[in-house]
């Protein structure tokens, strides 16, 4: 039998529970005054807890919406409109869920770029980082299926385009697509299973988040100077310092969120999704939700007129479509290897000016990719898309490995407390 908690609290009731199920010492050690956190974390470190809270908001609003939604092609669109018009506060809960999805991706993207800039993925946090990438993939699957549920034009046609991608897989592609659809096109079987899986995936995300936080707590948070905490001088209790800072950040975030929910609820959406799905009418421009746009741009960058695709020995296995799909997945999966692509001994880009410059260029590249993804695939946008896609992979596969190994970084401070003292004086 493993040893049980001998921790004593002030209240006899709490001690009684603690002796049988040590929830209180667990909370204290993970969130309380007993969990040491670097004292120099900036506001860029708020976005992890923010993402976690948005996940909670999505779960609650989603479960409540599911009480009123009907996952059948003849009723889905109308059931959502019934929620908007007849269910008490239905419009509020629907707009919270709809905009919460965008908020979730905003928080997670900022959280990821924080990790890229400060080298949070370096040892010993490689697995923490990798779990994060899997959370992103699970989020993308969840969001994709969720967008289909209102059964608008974009729901239907977005689902059609993306599920059709799997036909690019040689030999088994078509069978896989039929299997995904449950039929010969996106139809009722597809909608039904997407509802089931959309309800399931967020709980998978919760499980991944638990692993993510567990992995984090083994070595504690990274910090803006990327130097490990060495002594008590470097850390402070998570409570009350970071509980209070996170709550403040949450307040600011909720104001931002509330602005969209109440005053611009359809800013992130597409008007076409207020038209009921019509399998016989294709919208002039099929666009995914904004958070998928950079990946959509990478997908479309591979055009069939590239000479290699007509090179016969290759063409039966490698088509433009397949290249696009592989590149799209590679753009995310490559991130898993950041801890090894980046060979620098110094974590934080604060002390790696050349690397930092390339970080900003990479961020700019991702933003341009997002713009490209929203444009129709014609004219100058094709070339910009191909250039930015190429640069994305050049950054990860060539620039990061080379710069990280060739640059002579500046010397980081000796310790966190030294940095904090220096900042207070300077």
């Amino acid at each position: 039998m493993s040893s049980h908690s001998t921790r004593q609290f002030n209240s006899p009731l709490i001690n009684w529970i603690e002796h049988r199920l040590p929830v209180f010492s667990f909370l204290d050690n993970s969130l309380g005054t007993n969990y040491p956190t670097p004292k120099n974390l900036s506001y860029w470190w708020n976005f992890g807890s923010l993402a976690g809270i948005v996940l909670g908001v999505m779960l609650v609003s989603g479960i409540v919406l599911a009480m009123h939604y009907t996952a059948h092609v003849d009723h889905a669109f109308d059931s959502v409109e019934r929620i908007m018009r007849d269910v008490n506060y239905g419009w509020l809960i629907r707009y919270i869920h709809m905009n919460g999805g965008s908020m979730f991706f905003i928080a997670v993207y900022i959280h990821m770029f924080r990790g890229l800039y400060y080298g949070s993925y370096h040892a010993p946090r490689e697995i923490l980082w990798m779990i994060g990438v899997f959370i992103l993939l699970a989020m993308m699957a969840t969001a994709f299926m969720g967008y289909v549920l209102p059964w608008g034009q974009m729901s239907f046609w977005g689902a059609t385009v993306i599920t059709n991608l799997f036909s690019a897989i040689p030999l088994v592609g078509d069978s896989i697509v039929t299997w995904l659809w449950g039929g010969f096109s996106v139809d009722n079987p597809t909608l039904n299973r997407f509802f089931s899986l959309h309800y399931l995936m967020p709980f998978v995300i919760v499980g991944l988040v638990v692993l993510h936080i567990w992995a984090l707590h083994v070595h504690g948070s990274n910090n803006p100077i990327g130097v490990d905490a060495k002594s008590d001088q470097d850390t402070i209790g998570f409570h009350p310092y970071y509980t209070v800072k996170d709550l403040f950040g949450l307040g600011v975030f909720f104001i931002f969120f509330a602005f969209f929910v109440f005053y611009a609820p359809n800013f992130f959406g597409e008007p076409d999704n207020y038209i009921e799905a019509n399998p016989l009418v294709t919208p002039p421009h099929i666009v995914p939700e904004w958070y998928f746009l950079p990946f959509y741009a990478i997908l479309r960058a591979f055009t069939a007129d590239f000479f290699l695709y007509s090179y016969t020995p290759l063409s039966w296995i490698m088509t433009a479509k397949l290249s696009g799909v592989l590149a799209m997945f590679a753009s995310i999966l490559l991130l898993l290897f950041m801890p090894w692509l980046d060979g620098s001994k110094v974590r934080s880009s604060r002390f790696r000016p050349v690397y930092a410059m390339f970080f900003w260029l990479f961020l700019l590249d991702c933003l341009v990719l997002g713009v490209v993804g929203g444009k129709p695939a014609e004219g100058v946008w094709i070339y910009i898309g191909q250039a930015t896609t190429t640069y994305y992979f050049v950054h990860l596969l060539i620039i990061v490995p080379l710069v990280s190994r060739l640059e002579r970084p500046k010397a980081p401070p000796e310790s966190i407390s030294a940095a904090v003292t220096a900042k207070a004086q300077g």
């Binding site: 018009r85 269910v87 008490n88 239905g90």
Partner: protein
């Protein structure tokens, strides 16, 4: 006991109580916010506007001649509306004095004696009693008869014989005019 307070101490105490006040206020405002935020998620489970719209039904009584009954659906349940004959009304009023399992005067069950409005669900286990359509069994008391376990209701819809414990319930209704009622 010094009566000259140390200025540094009192400033510190002042600051501490200001901090406590700040923490208390913030917690209180936060708790109020949480309660206000929780309400929509609770209220959404209450009947929605389209459900409420069907919570009352208006019925035109003109086509129901004396001795006829109709069944309408109200809130998902059948409601019997009977245009009672003079004999039926007399029998119902006389039975006021009888031994009733669920004592109730006929006058307390109707607004106008000619019109009997009640929910047609047997108070035993929920079957729909027979007697509203011509030719159906009406039981020993000339009213309604529930075939599931043999409950007999009289011309006022009161339970007279059988396992049902209560009279057929009379819903809330109003006469909008002599020939139109609103149920619910």
């Amino acid at each position: 006991m010094s009566d000259t307070a140390n200025p540094a101490d009192s400033a510190e105490l002042d600051e501490k109580s200001r901090r406590d006040f700040l923490f208390a206020t913030t917690t209180a405002v936060g708790a109020i916010g949480a309660a206000l935020a929780a309400w929509p998620f609770i209220d959404q489970m209450n009947p929605a506007a389209d459900t409420l719209a069907l919570s009352s039904t208006e019925v035109d009584l003109e086509p129901i001649s004396e001795g006829m009954s109709i069944t309408v659906v109200w809130r998902g349940k059948p409601v019997f509306i009977r245009h009672r004959t003079a004999d039926e009304i007399k029998a119902a009023q006389e039975a006021d004095k009888a031994q009733l399992p669920d004592p109730q005067m006929d006058a307390d069950r109707v607004q106008k004696p000619a019109w009997l409005v009640m929910v047609g669900v047997c108070t035993h286990l929920g079957c729909i009693p027979l007697g509203n359509k011509a030719g159906e069994a009406r039981g020993d008391f000339g009213g309604w008869f529930c075939p599931c376990h043999g409950s007999h209701y009289d011309t006022s819809g009161r339970i007279r014989k059988g396992p049902a414990p209560l009279n057929l319930p009379v819903p809330e209704y109003t006469f909008l005019s002599d020939t139109r009622i609103k149920i619910g």
